[in-house]
């Protein structure tokens, strides 16, 4: 059910997908879905929370090397790799925030800020080491995340460039953007 909901929400949007459509995709009747989720809102929240939990856990488990610059490269490559592996979940996590209830929104927002905080800490360390030159760390954090996440809007498997080639080029741009 979660798999079917993820694909349908990503394609048509949460509000445009009915529980009947999800049920049809799974091969059951709509009523049966309520054995596995309290309601449609909880289903969306669970998908988004799982995605953010996976993201934070994967980053914690990532090898990061020594020094702020190595950390920054690890972050850029990790972010691109992780996001290209699950485009539907990424799409939902960014597009369906406004369809969350207030409480659920606050919870997801906290996870997102935690992840942004990881990059921000790297940039601050790089600034302290004088290997990164940025007039405003918080703003640079937002700019880099937007640039890296943007890969998902255009990258398609089987295209002109491999994922690794894309990561190489983006890492060059990240390095240039922070004057490293």
């Amino acid at each position: 059910m979660r798999e079917a909901a993820l694909a349908l929400f990503a394609q048509h949007g949460f509000a445009a997908v009915s529980m009947r459509q999800i049920a049809a995709e799974v091969g059951v009747q709509a009523g049966a879905l309520y054995l596995y989720t309290k309601d449609k809102q909880s289903l969306l929240f669970d998908l988004m929370q799982s995605h953010m939990d996976d993201l934070l856990a994967a980053w914690q488990a990532e090898p990061k090397g020594d020094g702020a610059l190595a950390h920054l490269e690890a972050f850029a490559r990790f972010h691109i790799r992780f996001h290209l592996e699950r485009p539907d979940a990424v799409f939902i996590a960014y597009m369906e925030l406004r369809n969350l209830s207030d409480d659920n929104f606050a919870a997801i927002e906290a996870l997102r800020r935690t992840y942004e905080g990881e990059l921000e800490a790297i940039l601050r360390a790089g600034h302290a080491e004088s290997v990164i030159h940025a007039p405003d760390i918080r703003l640079t954090t937002m700019a880099l995340i937007a640039m890296l996440t943007g890969v998902n809007t255009w990258y398609r498997d089987g295209g002109r460039l491999s994922r690794d080639a894309v990561a190489d080029i983006y890492w060059d741009m990240v390095r240039g953007a922070v004057g490293a």
Copy 2:
């Protein structure tokens, strides 16, 4: 009507907003809206098309200076200024593409590609002039647009930085990212 629809679509999403809600915001009954739009789909399309037309016309009217680097700076500052001036329209133009009919989607997509083509042409000129160093112009185009458009996700008027200060910093990052 268009003003009310723009605000409501941006806040709740096209699929989650009813014609009755729009009518209530305008102060009329739902049926009266159909004197001004053929249907809900046309209303969305008109909003998006107007936004893209405004964007392209404003860029054409923008003073651009001499040389590819001056052009690039003009583009970066223009993009940030224009997008910060109309956050609702920008939000809709990026988030509601999947709610367009096939024909309408193709039309909006063509306008979007035209705009991207403007930046791409600047980068190619800069590459020819050897003032820009980028291994893949198309990819750099997408990365820069994502970075610049990302301003809308976090910038709020009355915050720590003025729009001009933000544009200054972003222009520095754009210049660094293309090795200029």
